[in-house]
Symmetry: C2
Subunit: 130 residues, 2 copies
DNA sequence: ATACATGCAAAGAATTTGCAGCTTG
DNA sequence: CAAGCTGCAAATTCTTTGCATGTAT
């Protein structure tokens, strides 16, 4: 999967680093500034491949376009339902709580938890003011 | 929001009770068996309204169609990656931990959490034996 | 009555895909 | 050179919406 390293893929990776949880279109527009020839299809293709390979994270948001995250590190996402912005959260307290949840779930369901995807939603402080 | 109680809405609610986390299309097909005239648009419209009103849960899944859950009650889903079985989990300990996570997130991100969708994955005890 | 809901079909948005041509190893 | 990737555009898939008509309160 993704054997060759194209200039496009590098630019897409770079865009993911520069932008904050961008959508495919946002990545497209960012890369476009320095490389106008790139196509949206290529962006989608690469994001899909990378997400599939576990190199990046896909954040589904239901009614809005998916967002992508280059941060693989254990952390949670909080999505503002109003403006669509994604906030990151992490910390040892959070990890602690998540670990306890895993344990509870393993006890009650017998499933050995290996993976979790969680999305929290609400309204951010800025949107609440409006 | 949804002032009138149409036969269609009742059938959609019933479908949500009968089916396990169905997609809009699955609801449509279920209702259709007893009421062939219902339209997919109506199903989407009602699911959207109900989700918006907090009467049901929308579960975004990224590349697949969204799923809907009539169970508003605090509970988690644990999916066996091997056999595909979905386990439900709930309890006051779990709620306690989730509440704490909400609080932490609100403190660190400023977002007032109103909704969360979480999916845990692993291998169930039965599949582990094989 | 009349405000709201429906069915239908068309529109819209997000994402995927087929294919010919260019690129990388 | 061959396998893979790109750009383009058309196709798919999921979801929403406009409008004329039906229906619950």
């Amino acid at each position: 999967m993704n054997k060759r390293y194209s200039a496009q893929k590098m630019m897409i990776e770079n865009a993911l680093k520069e932008l904050d949880h961008p959508t495919a279109t946002e990545v497209y527009e960012y890369v476009r500034e320095s490389y106008p020839n790139i196509s949206l299809g290529t962006v989608y293709r690469n994001l899909g491949i990378m997400a599939e390979a576990g190199e990046i994270l896909r954040i589904p948001s239901g009614q809005a376009p998916d967002r992508f995250d280059i941060n693989i590190h254990e952390h949670l996402h909080v999505l503002c339902a109003e403006c669509g912005q994604v906030f990151d959260a992490e910390g040892h307290q959070l990890e602690d709580l998540l670990g306890k949840i895993d344990k509870l779930l393993e006890e009650s369901t017998g499933v050995h938890i290996e993976d979790r995807s969680m999305l929290f939603q609400g309204v951010c402080s800025q949107c609440r003011k409006q």
